[in-house]
Symmetry: C2
Subunit: 351 residues, 2 copies
């Protein structure tokens, strides 16, 4: 018997406060993997959700954060893997109008009443929303139409560094699935559904230079700035090194062979681009990011091509010396730069 | 009657605990001008020292921190200005073995028992040491041999930005003095007295770039790092701009006309350099700073020439994006760079 979605939607509408309360419960539980804050408690909470749904579930340990693994047998023919992540980014950005871990419902014009919290998007909201939907199907005494193999990881924001450990242990079960589904919201600010194409890889790394490693400049601590006259500066050296990596606009990467193996859009990609463009309102995307223009004032397909197919070299953060109020004359001994490369197909770390 | 210095030294030796206690009292009073911490309380403390010595003293207000001004009339023919500073740098460096504001006496091999504190050197230690000496002269019922005009400022670490206000008000009195004395320690780690030559000026400034000012890149907040493919990066742009300011080693300044008007060592300077070299143990200076080599492996006169006569462009601090533990993929909207130029004679801000 096919699923009666009308019944499910009615159930959701009637039980909205309870559904929202569950979203709030999850976003209130910190799980900030870059700061190792609340991560294991959140894993336990997710475990209780999966067992509550009726899945056979467990915490699968890795060398890092545990993966919550759950098998929901709906008695169906087909099985899909539901990939989820329970960790979030830090909450240190300025500009929060609400406590990012309070699970606050607040009016956000022009959208109306919204849940504003770290993880409300990307992706605790989507995770709990999917489970709410599963529970609603069961509450209307219907069957979930596929078996679900939940893989809920706690290191997505760290680059999923220990997920391969889990996968190699459970490869056989996972290979029995027909597809992988990652619940993720994809609307622009006008409410329009946005479709993208393809996935990039990431290599995250830090460049650090200090006088001890370099053999020039201060080795152990910052010294008085007047010494720049006779002492080399690791900061200046790093800036000169970084500057060789891009063109003057900071966009074209000038590292040797960086683009050499990168796959360019193939025939199928090029055919799909005009279809994708129909789902894409570039003004809405830029408004959301508070960005006046894309690189080179590109629009439509030209912009999508950059976003989907170009590898990048990005500086996520840079820190050296005294950065507090007013002045402190200092020749710093160390500089640290957090960088990432987004990889497109055929790029390899060894190229 | 000439001053009997033997009597003074004997008095100091006999009263060492009291002398040290006075040093401790002063370094325990915070006066961190870059953070505006304890500055005015410290000015009041200095005022009490000057009136305690018998000077006619007052707090002279400026648009910033007050100058403590004191006139000690010794009944002598000559007057000298004693320039002092009562403010210090922040205490945020790592590696403190003692609380920097606790005024701790501790063993520091190979030097023995030392007062280790923010301001113990540069220059609360020297300030209080000078006053201890003055008090010791009086305690031995002798006369201080010159009249003292104390000018004790609280913004040295901010570039003495409001000192000109004070000077223009008191120009006439100050011009009556025969010389200016700045009590300052000048020994290397072997105990050898070090003499330097000349004084540089400083211009301190911040370079800040954000997407709103630039017209490209994120305007209001950092966005997800994956957007680097289609959004310009203020951080990369700043790095490219900075890189144009020096040669690849970060030492030679390539800004147009930077060196054009800078005065090179004159005949008298060149005659003095060999004399200065006799007071200069370059290995000891480098050991103290934990620096293996001076720029270009220079030594002796060659190194002194750089230190004394070369203008510099230094980066005191740089900050952008996420700099906490682990990773956060971010395309930052803003970067801030704290820089200073050390000026030699004939350089002007307008050149």
């Amino acid at each position: 018997m096919p699923l009666d979605r009308g019944k499910v939607f009615t159930h959701i509408d009637k039980n909205l406060p309870q559904h929202i309360a569950k979203l709030q419960e999850l976003v209130r539980q910190p799980s900030i993997s870059p700061e190792n804050k609340g991560v294991r408690d959140c894993a336990s909470l997710i475990l209780s959700y999966l067992t509550g749904l009726g899945a056979k579930a467990s915490l699968e340990e890795t060398s890092g954060n545990p993966v919550v693994y759950g098998n929901y047998d709906a008695g169906a023919d087909k099985t899909i893997v539901v990939y989820m992540m329970y960790d979030t980014m830090p909450v240190d950005e300025p500009g929060w109008r609400v406590d990012p871990l309070a699970g606050t419902l607040t009016d956000v014009p022009p959208f109306g009443r919204c849940l504003v919290a770290r993880g409300a998007f990307n992706t605790k909201g989507e995770l709990r929303g999917f489970l709410n939907a599963c529970e609603s199907i069961k509450a209307t005494r219907q069957k979930i139409p596929v078996n679900l193999l939940f893989v809920v990881e706690g290191e997505e924001e760290l680059g999923s560094r220990h997920l391969p450990e889990f996968i190699s242990k459970h490869e056989k079960e996972l290979q029995g699935a027909k597809a992988v589904f990652f619940p993720f919201c994809s609307q622009d600010r006008t409410g329009k559904v946005v479709m993208y194409l393809g996935v990039k890889g990431i290599v995250f790394f830090e460049l650090e230079l200090d006088g001890a490693t370099w053999g020039k400049g201060p080795k152990e601590f910052g010294i008085h700035g007047s010494n720049k006259a006779w002492v080399d500066s690791p900061v200046w050296r790093m800036i000169q090194a970084l500057a060789t990596m891009t063109g003057p606009d900071g966009n074209k990467v000038t590292i040797q062979d960086f683009y050499r193996h990168a796959q360019v859009p193939n025939k199928e990609d090029r055919e799909l681009l005009p279809k994708l463009e129909k789902t894409f309102n570039d003004a809405a995307v830029r408004e959301e990011m508070k960005v006046d223009r894309f690189i080179g004032d590109s629009h439509g397909i030209e912009a999508l091509k950059k976003y989907l197919f170009e590898p990048t070299l990005n500086i996520n953060g840079i820190a050296s010396g005294y950065t507090g109020p007013e002045t402190k004359t200092l020749l710093p001994h160390k500089i640290t730069v957090k960088m990432d490369v987004r990889l497109v197909p055929n790029m390899r770390r060894t190229t």
